[in-house]
Symmetry: C2
Subunit: 116 residues, 2 copies
Amino acid sequence: MEYKQVIILRKDLGMGKGKIAAQSSHASLEAYEKTLIKDPKAVEEWKNQGQAKIVLKVNSKEELLELFQELKNLFPCSLIKDAGRTQIAAGEPTAVGIGPVPESEINKFTKELKLL
Amino acid sequence: MEYKQVIILRKDLGMGKGKIAAQSSHASLEAYEKTLIKDPKAVEEWKNQGQAKIVLKVNSKEELLELFQELKNLFPCSLIKDAGRTQIAAGEPTAVGIGPVPESEINKFTKELKLL
């Protein structure tokens, strides 16, 4: 079974490259830690397979939150809200991280999303 | 003491946003894991303080590797090399992650670098 971590970022906020890098890293690390607790074997497999990370985009807050609501009971998920120190209002949701999870399972939910 | 994690990305590779997000997340996660082993108290402090991540840039492979060589004996550091599946040649160094480490200590080495 192939594992990957999926990171979903909001495109509509017009985040700069540094912001994208930071929010993505927040989402990745928090989802990783949740997965380590809920499914340590998935983490181990994923590491042995090279720790694939896939970065996708959504076009609105609503789309991001809808996905998070749908996925959070099925997979270990993080929802990142901006600290508001730069560029974006405090508390604004920016990113979601998922897993690592089996590729075949998460693809059912994310196949319509485009790569960032 | 204030802690932060520093992520340094190469600007000269012309990485797209998705690539930047993925390489940054690799660097962040790997540096985090190394810090967890070498200095778990730093990780705890950093989490309590809100997990600040700062993303900086360098303009060449040489600059990235030089920084990594200088920092790797002083702080828990990751050096990320691209898997070569997209955009960039396999094995090409793309990013460095550091810590979380005390802000006052890492700033001595990174103060000349600009934000990505």
